[in-house]
C-alpha cells in the first residue's frame, strides 16, 4: 500500500486545491495516469500517479486546499490482497508526522544510488538505468558503465562474427516460412506527402516510420508474431519492441529496438526512429535496446531491393521485410494503372506460428496501409 501525496510542482508552490478526482475508489491506475486536477497559484494543473495499482481510498474531498505533502489517496498494488480495513500502519501520516520520523531521512539517503558524476553522466548518455546495475553499497564508477556497453554492443570488428553466429543458429534451429504481399503504397505516400507538406523538414515523417507504425499497429491484432521461442514454446510479449535493422556505415548491421513502440503514435514513432538511428551511429545505445527486441523490421528499400527474405533473429519468431517502393502496373477494378508498389515480406518461425497467422498479418498490414490516417 502506498500513499499518493500532493506533489510539489515548483519550489514556490506551498499548497493547491484538489479540484477534481479523475478516478474513484477501486479504479485501476497506471504509472503516468492523470488522477486529479489541482488548482495552484499558477492555474489548474493535472497531477499524475507514479505507479501501477488500484485506488484503495480517496482521502481528500474535492475542493480541499492541501499543502504539499498532504496524503491524497491510498494506492494498492495489484498483487496486494484487498484490505478492507487499513491498519494503523497503512494510515497515511501528515507531513509534520513524517518529518518527525527519523527513519524517513535515512530511507531517502538509501534510495539515492551512489554513483560518480562521470558515471552518472555516461549512464545518462547511454540510457543505462543506474538502478539496473544493482549497486546498493558500493558506488558506481565510470568503468562499470563502460563495461556495461562494451559487453552489450558488439564492436564493429566483432560485429560480423556476432551476426554470423546469430544467423547460423537461426538457420540451423528455426524452420522459416516466408510470405509476401504486394502493397499499393500510393494512398499511403500521397497521404504522407500531404501530412508532411505543412511541416518543417526536420518534422517530416519518413515512409519507414509509417511502415514501422503499421507493423506495430497490426501486431496488436496478431500478437503471435511478437515474442520469443523459449523453452519449446511461444512466449508472446506484452511490449512491442521492434528491432530496426540499421546499417552502420563502416560495416555490419545492428537491430536496436524502438522500445514500447506500441505506446507511440506516428510522430512519436518517427521521433524514436530518428533518435535511435542517431544513437546507433554514435554508439550510444541502451542495453535494453539491443537485448529486448520482440520482432525485427528490415527495410532495404533504400538500396533498391525489391524483396526481403530475412533470417529471424533468435529467440524472436518473426521478421518483417520491406522492399523498394517502385512504380508498377496495378489492376484497380477493371483498369490497369501505374501505382507505387512495395513488396512486404514476412519470415516466420514455423514452430511458433503457421502461414495462417502470417497471412493474416500481411493482409491486415496491407489494409491499414490503404487507410494510413488510422496510423496517426
Amino acid at each position: 500500500m502506498s500513499t499518493f501525496v500532493m506533489p510539489s510542482l515548483g519550489a514556490d508552490m506551498k499548497s493547491a486545491v484538489l479540484m477534481e478526482w479523475k478516478v474513484k475508489e477501486g479504479d485501476p491506475v497506471t504509472k503516468g495516469m492523470v488522477i486529479a486536477e489541482v488548482e495552484t497559484s499558477k492555474g489548474v494543473i493535472e497531477i499524475e500517479v507514479f505507479e501501477d495499482g488500484i485506488i484503495e481510498k480517496l482521502l481528500v474531498e474535492e475542493e480541499t486546499d492541501c499543502t504539499v505533502g498532504t496524503p491524497l489517496a491510498l494506492i494498492r498494488s495489484k498483487d496486494e490482497a484487498v484490505n478492507t480495513k487499513p491498519t494503523t500502519q497503512d494510515l497515511p501520516k501528515s507531513p509534520s508526522e513524517i518529518l518527525k520520523e527519523p527513519e524517513h531521512e535515512i530511507m531517502l539517503a538509501a534510495e539515492r544510488i551512489k554513483a560518480s558524476p562521470a558515471a552518472r553522466k555516461r549512464a545518462q548518455e547511454l540510457g543505462i538505468e543506474l538502478a539496473s546495475l544493482g549497486a546498493d553499497k558500493e558506488a558506481i564508477h565510470l568503468a562499470q558503465i563502460e563495461s556495461e556497453i562494451t559487453a552489450k554492443i558488439p564492436q564493429p570488428s566483432g560485429m560480423r562474427q556476432a551476426i554470423a553466429k546469430a544467423m547460423s543458429r537461426s538457420n540451423a534451429e528455426i524452420p522459416h516460412y516466408y510470405l509476401s504481399a504486394s502493397v499499393n503504397m500510393t494512398p499511403a505516400l500521397h497521404w504522407l506527402e500531404e501530412y508532411n507538406k505543412n511541416r518543417s523538414i526536420q518534422d517530416r515523417i519518413l515512409p519507414t516510420a509509417l511502415l514501422i507504425r503499421a507493423v506495430v499497429y497490426v501486431l496488436k491484432e496478431v500478437p503471435e508474431l511478437n515474442g520469443f521461442w523459449k523453452d519449446d514454446g511461444l512466449q508472446m510479449s506484452m511490449q512491442i519492441n521492434p528491432g530496426i535493422a540499421i546499417a552502420l556505415r563502416k560495416e555490419g548491421l545492428i537491430t536496436p529496438a524502438i522500445l514500447e513502440a506500441g505506446q507511440m503514435d506516428l510522430d512519436a514513432t518517427m521521433q524514436a526512429l530518428g533518435d535511435l538511428i542517431t544513437r546507433t551511429r554514435s554508439g550510444k545505445l541502451r542495453n535494453t535496446e539491443i537485448t529486448q527486441q520482440t520482432i525485427t523490421i528490415t527495410n532495404l528499400g533504400d538500396l533498391g531491393v525489391e524483396n526481403v527474405y530475412g533470417v529471424i533473429y533468435p529467440p524472436q519468431v518473426a521478421l518483417v521485410g520491406f522492399g523498394r517502393i517502385m512504380d508498377a502496373p496495378w489492376a484497380q477494378g477493371d483498369t490497369l494503372c501505374v501505382r507505387k508498389v512495395m513488396q512486404a515480406t514476412l519470415a516466420g518461425d514455423h514452430r511458433a506460428t503457421d502461414g495462417r497467422t502470417g497471412g493474416k498479418f500481411l493482409d491486415r498490414l496491407n489494409q491499414i496501409l490503404q487507410t494510413p490516417e488510422e496510423l496517426l
Binding site: 560518480s116 558524476p117 562521470a118 558515471a119 552518472r120 558506488a139 564508477h141
Partner: protein, 327 residues
Amino acid sequence: MSEIITYREALRVAMSEAMQKDERVFLMGEDVGRYGGSFAVSMGLLEQFGSERIIDTPLSESAFTGAGIGAALNGMRPIVEIMTVNFSLLALDQIMNNAATILHMSGGQFHVPLVIRMATGGGKQLGAQHSHSLEGWYAHIPGLKVLTPATVQDAYDMVGLALADPDPVLIFENSLLYNAKGALERQAEPLKIGKALVHREGKDLSIFTYGISLFKSLEAAEILSKEGIGAEVIDLRSLRPLDDETMIRSVRKTHRVLIVDEGWKSGSISAEIMARINEQAFYELDAPMMRVCSAEVPFPYAHHLEQAALPQPEKIVAAAKKLMEGI
C-alpha cells in the same frame, strides 16, 4: 646544451644575467649583499654589481617592499628578496594594498613591474615562524602573479619571466630545493606564466602539485606504476593564474584528482583547485577529489612531528590507492 647546476645557482645566474642585460634591474633585501643572501642565493653578486645594485636593507620588510613598488612605479625593474614567507607578512600591506591595486586604482595609468622572491616551506626544523607555505594566500589576490618554480630550469626561467612581466610577480622558492641539482638549458624557450607542465603522463589519476611536492608526487607515481596505477603528475608552476585548461584536460582523461600541497587545507589553493574542477568538470569526476596537504598545525620543531605534518610520498601513494578504490 645543458649544464647541471643547483636551484640556487640557477636563480643567481638568472638574476646576474638580467642585471647585465638591463640596468634597471637591481636586487634589494635583507642580507642579500655582504652576507650573500640568507640562503646564499645572491652570493657573489655584490662583488659583481656593487652596492648600488645589490642593496642590503635593514629589517624593514614593509618599507623595502614598498620601496620596490615605488622604484617599479618609477621605471625600475627591482627584485625584492624577502627572507621567508613568514616575514613577508610584515610587508603584506604593501603587497596587497599597493602592488596589487595601483594599476586598477589608477585606471591603468601606473603599473608595477616588481619581482618579489621569497623562501617558503617546511622540513628544516625551523619551527612555527619560519616553515609555512603561504603562497596560496597570495594567490587569492587579483593583481598579483604567483609562481612556484620546482625545477632548476623553472627557477632560472621564472626569474626572467617575472622580470619581463609588467605586473607584480611573486616567486616562491621552497628552501629545501636550493641545493637540488638539475639540468639547465639557458637558451630554452621558457613556458609562459600560467602554464602548467605535465611531468609524467598517466591514465588513472591526476596529481596536481607544485614546488617541492612535485618531487614527492613523482616518487609516489613511480611506486604506483609498479602496482599498475598510472598517475599523471602535473606541476602547476603558477598558482595565479592557475592553468585551468591543463588541469581540466587531465581530469577529462583520468577522471580522478589528487592534489598535493604543502599548504594547509582550510581555505587553501588546494580547495580552490577542487572548486574549479567542480565548476568546470564535475561530470568528469569518477570519485571524490582528494588532497594530501600539511597537517593543520603551526609547524612543530621536533623532527618526527614536522615530518608527520608534511606531505610525504607514502601519504600520496595511500591517497592515490584510496582514490582508485573509489573511496
